[in-house]
Amino acid sequence: DAAVKNPGKRRRKKDDIDLEDEIDEQIATLKVAMEKACVADNEAREKGQPAVHKLKLLPQVTALLNRTAIQDSVLDPETNFLQSIKYFLEPLNDGSLPAYSIQRDIFTALAKLPINKDSLLSSGIGKVVLFYTRSKRPEAGIKRIAERLLGEWSRPILKRTDDYKK
């Protein structure tokens, strides 16, 4: 029943195509760098070294997340930038959380984005947000945002059930 998707959702003006391609490319490049940084941070941890690779990329990552003009590209389930965001928030192999500034900046940015069901499904970011509500490690402010996101993201799904009943 999910066959009725919305193919024209991302209708672009011709002039915007170049710019949008450029942004998609920028996102793709950053995604690769982010995934490498996650691996590098885990390796550093295992060697007892500080995990700094994700931190170094953080300004670029939050800059993209906070650019409202490119939200469509950032949230596009096919570009799947949110999946890399999920990797950034995941606990490291030793169970520790990423640096506080990573948690703070990314959760703050996520709270401002109109994240829809399709990007939730393709990214899996809801799973890591759920983890932040369950773990005792995050600071209270982070947990509050995580709990709010969980509520916001699940509301349309829960509401749909209500609608059917009426």
């Binding site: 030793d94 499904l121 799973k127 759920l130 773990s135 749909r160």
Partner: protein, 49 residues
């Protein structure tokens, strides 16, 4: 109070909604390994005190 964080009440949901919830938020086991490490560390700290 291990599972006090089960915030979303899923009672009374139809199957599609339940499937969506699980597809989006997982079955709760994805990061159990990290929560387990957390618990083990707490245990160790308690013993050391």
């Amino acid at each position: 109070p291990k599972d006090k964080a089960l915030i979303v009440d899923t009672t009374g949901l139809d199957k599609d909604a339940l499937d969506d919830m699980e597809a989006i938020f997982g079955n709760g086991e994805e990061y159990d390994w990290a929560l387990q490490i957390e618990e083990d560390e707490e245990e160790r700290e308690r013993e050391e005190q």
